[in-house]
């Protein structure tokens, strides 16, 4: 039973650590460089008529 408990505990710990780190990292990746600027980017593209 000790083996089962260790496997369950370590896996849940690792999975939640990965999830928390991944979710926590979204702000510097998304807000600063993507979300805020995207609006301006799309408008500029639309005005210039450039098609990607």
């Amino acid at each position: 039973m000790q083996m089962c408990m260790e496997t369950i505990a370590y896996t849940i710990l690792l999975v939640f650590a990965i999830t928390a780190v991944g979710y926590g990292q979204k702000r510097p990746i998304e807000i600063g460089t993507v979300t805020k600027k995207m609006v301006t980017f799309q408008c500029l593209q639309s005005e210039s008529g450039e098609v990607y």
Partner: protein, 409 residues
């Protein structure tokens, strides 16, 4: 392999982080319906179509694997021959996708996942009472042999961590992070906020999924009578022998449901790639209705192909890693094209060089010839993609990265 198999689930948690927090929101913001369309935005139409074609082929390969798992589950349920189960399972899977819409499939996927989890927990609890000597006997039996003593620890074997756990996380994250199979559920979400929040259930649900199957597999391995049935059949043999019939039925239903859900996602991805990225080359003004019809026809074609070749496939883990390795250069070049520089020539050269390396290493057997069994094909693909991608992008002319302009705006 022992409980180290849980790393396949942990790899899925890493994959969900990449899909829901990084690449999914990137692709959604450009308004692209397919990854091919998104890569077309970055590098140009030709490379976008090239990626869509490869993604469609790889999606079909994944669908073949799903038909294989459906056939094994049906065979376990009925005792019928594997090939007959593949035909019936393939037809069932096609009907499952064709008769339902996207919303129904999304809800069914959720229900199937819940049934699967409940079934696995019930099986685990039953095994606590039914296993001869309980879980302590399983541990004692496996640890008695020095060759298998490490089976009881998820950190037990460093060679497998390097050759199995890390490349699985790497391949799954990079492949699904920039493939239609990973983007398909993200594309149907209401908003980016919803996609990001979904990590809190997608990560743990996928990440913890392998715990109980790994423990059940180890229990079957620890009992010589079941171990003799072979790696594929020892767990079903133990379950049928030890557990009450209603529990066996619940587990089989859970597995079948999850298999059908996976088939739906895997079949929809290549069908969408072909109907949106390739069919429109011949009929640029095709309506959404025509494309949907086309997707439905394609699902039937993909289902038939999957049934026809499901008897000729290699071991699932090897095949999955081989499929993943084709997506690695796509991810590397997408990141370069978004944040540094866009050169279609550099992208095409990198894709072709990396894919040739994958074929030489894995498909044509250089890895086995050299005896480098732990040097996973995903490592080869990543090394070639990074080297070729950085060098060709630096040398060849190109436009600034797709998102670089936004920083300056």
């Amino acid at each position: 392999m022992g409980v180290i198999a849980v790393w396949f689930g942990i790899a899925c948690a890493v994959m969900m982080v990449v899909i829901t927090q990084v690449t999914g929101p990137w692709i959604r913001r450009t308004g692209a319906k397919t990854v091919g369309e998104f890569l077309g935005h970055i590098f140009g139409k030709k490379s976008g179509i090239m990626i869509s074609s490869v993604n469609a082929a790889l999606g079909i390969a994944m669908t073949c694997l799903e038909v294989e798992t459906i056939a094994v589950t049906l065979s376990f349920l009925t005792g019928w021959e594997y090939t007959i189960c593949a035909v019936i399972g393939g037809i069932l899977a096609m009907l499952y996708v064709l008769l339902a819409g996207m919303k129904e499939i999304a809800w069914l996927n959720l229900i199937n996942a819940i049934v699967m989890y409940v079934a696995l927990i019930v099986v685990f609890i039953c095994l606590c009472f039914e296993l001869p000597g309980g879980w302590d006997a399983v541990q004692a039996s496996v640890e008695a042999n020095p060759d298998t003593a490490w089976f009881t620890s998820i950190f037990g074997n460093s060679a497998l961590i390097i050759g199995f756990a890390i490349p699985n996380a790497l391949g799954a994250s990079l492949f699904h992070g920039m493939a239609q199979t990973g983007y398909q559920p993200v594309a149907t979400a209401k908003s980016n906020k919803e996609v990001k929040k979904s990590l809190w259930y997608a990560g743990p649900i996928n990440g913890c999924f392998c715990i109980i199957p790994a423990l059940i597999g180890l229990a079957a391995f620890s009992i010589v009578a079941y171990r003799d049935a072979g790696s594929m059949m020892m767990t079903p043999a133990m379950i049928i022998d030890l557990l009450p019939k209603p529990v066996v039925a619940l587990l089989a239903a859970g597995f079948l449901g999850v298999d059908l859900s996976s088939f739906a996602v895997m079949a929809l991805a290549p069908a969408t790639c072909i109907s949106h990225d390739m069919y429109t080359l011949y009929k640029p003004n095709a309506s959404e209705r025509t494309k949907t019809k086309m997707s439905r026809v394609l699902i039937i074609v993909i289902g038939i192909i999957s049934i026809l070749i499901c008897n000729f496939q290699p071991a699932p883990v090897e095949m999955v890693n081989w499929i993943f390795s084709f997506g690695v250069p796509v991810f590397v070049m997408a990141v370069i094209g978004i944040w540094w520089k866009r050169s279609e020539k550099a992208a095409v050269i990198t894709f072709i060089l990396s894919w040739i390396a994958v074929c030489v290493w894995s498909t044509f057997g250089l890895q086995n010839y050299l005896g480098w069994t732990n040097f996973n094909v995903n490592y080869i693909s990543l090394i070639f993609a990074l080297a070729a991608g950085v060098i060709t992008t630096a040398v060849l002319p190109g436009k600034k990265g797709l998102f670089v302009g936004r920083k300056r705006a």
